[in-house]
Amino acid sequence: MILEISNLQKRYGNRTVVNISDLQINAGETVGIVGNNGAGKTTLFRMLLDLIRPDQGEILSKGEQVAHDGQWKDYTASYLDEGYLIDYLTSEEYFVFIGSLHKMSVAHVTDYLKQFQEFFNEEILGKGKYIRDFSKGNQNKVGIAAALMQAPELLVLDEPFANLDPTTQIRLKTLIKSLKQERNMTTLISSHDLNHVTDVCDRIILMEKGLIIKDLRTNENTLQELEAYFSG
């Protein structure tokens, strides 16, 4: 078990935005979190990454509380939004910086980025632009690639498919699937795109107003079930 959440609550004013009594994520699972706006997906991710302090409850990553020590940062990589990108760097500088935090040399980083050639589609490297001058979709690519580059055991992505072009969406799905095979990587993805999550995830968690109302193993009926919920 890589993540254990118990009794987790977060309130803003008198509105409870996240209220999870018990949730366990096993190593190697690809988990999709779906729900309408305001369901608490991003807040949950931020608490997982110790960016927001929960009002109650605890989150254990490999048995250690995330709020207490930074051990989890060694094997967790994430990309939530542009707030992750250092926008005045070129994409190369950003990758080198993130790599250096994991003791990767410049040569190592360059070598690693070669695998992403297809994913980048010649839009990212050697453009002579700062990240702030990239389009949203390309900024997203930079963030996701930087997260994957850290060779994480646990990967957290918030709406990774939004802003990506169809080719890149498909490539991202293939990448996640193959990393799960090769390294037993655990992935948490939130998304509004039901097709993509049912395709890539083997477990889907449905949230509504901070509560988990469904926790499904993906099978051929899952997509219909989800569509039924959302159109209801």
Binding site: R46, L49, D50, L51, I52, R53, G70, K73, D74, S78, L80, D81, E82, G83, Y84, L85, I86, D87, Y88, L89, T90, E92, E93, V96, F97, I98, S100, L101, H102, G128, K129, Y130, Q150
Partner: protein
Amino acid sequence: MLGTFLDHQWKAFWRSKNKGGTIATQIFIGIIVVYLLGVAFFLGFGMEAFITQFFPGKDVFTVFNGVILYYFAADFLMRMQLQELPTLSIVPYLHLKIPKQKIVNFLNTRALFSAFNVLPLFLFLPFCATAISDVYDSFTALMYVVSILSLTVFNNYAALYIKRRSIQNLKIVPLVFLLIIALGLLEYFKVFSISAISNRVFGFVTTYPLAGFGFTLFAVLTYQLNARYLRSNLYVEELSKNEAKKTSTDYPFLDRFGEIGTLVALELKLILRNKRSRSAVTMSLLFLFYGFLFYKKELLDQDKLELMLFASVFMTGNCISIYGQFMFGWQSSHFDGLMANKIDIRNFIKAKFLMFTLFSTFTTLIACLYGFLSWKILVIQFAAYLYNIGIGTVIVLYFATRNYRSMDLSKGSTFNFQGVGASQWVLGLPYFLAPYVILLPFSLSGAPYWGFIALGACGLTACLTREFWVSFIVNEFNKRKHKITEGFREKS
């Protein structure tokens, strides 16, 4: 339509989340504005008396006429530096069913709402209304007013036009600057004199008042020039910066510090590549001229050195106080990323210490040039330097852990109060008072040099015990980490 635009702008100003931050900031800005206008008004009304007092024996009108073009030349330079182009605010309207001409008109009208356009009115109009209408006649006075208004409008649009052109063609900037420097040198070496020209021009206006409309003609021309240029270039990407190819850089000398060095390099890039940080640091280098104001020969001879300590602390640590007061807000736009990534907070804080030490050492080395005035200055500055890198940095970083305001780095730093909160106001007190608290007992007992030695010793002790202070700041940071990240997520 114009009214609607202006109404939206008005709302945008008052409803912006961070419009000046606290009430204290707004009161402060208000006081400064009222003060400046008051001074201008006072100068305007007392102009006659001032001229007779400062230039005895000279004709009041000769001096006044000589000053006008001088003022507008300086005004033009200031505008080039400080006046902002009103561009981004039109983006939401470009795709709507609004004729381009109206948008251009709005941009041009909006540009008139600037303090630069109010100041000359307060400064010159009282004199026109009193002295000129008394000595000449009210028609001449009226034409003076017309001339001055026209010059203001001319300057306003000429500065904007050059700025707009320079966005598309970067070569214009050095050309304009060379031209200005050349004119300045010609004036300095008395090849020609702006005041003489100004005098002749306005002398002409007094004889033929209608000539004042000549300025109006120029004003209308620049307005038209601007309007035409805007009409044919009303595309978002052409109105905003369009810069040269960016390259990656690294700073090999920082490599030996490992992760700390990497973080310092990151922040150096932040400073160099963002407008606001760049102008803040440039400004702090300009403050190195403070010494000429504070280091007075008589005070040095009489060993009245206490008065100079403020200047020394400020100069050797100006980067620390000016840049550091907004810490960690500079990184607010990517703070989530820094926190979620594998960065040791201890190294993060140590990087700040290292950067401040490098900055302070650099400015102190430059400030050492004041040593040519007197060796005593070197003693004061060295003590101030040790204070800054030992104690000043700790004070600044302590307050940084209480700063929850995000910053927008794309605007210049002069008169920019976005991101200013309570911590910036409180910070100055302990930072500038602490050295005096250490110095005071010694200087009261007539041994100022021992005071400086004590100050230096305190700073040095703090440096040697830095590990302890780093732990202290890390502790404080961790207590409020979530509040800081939450504050930074709220963009203005």
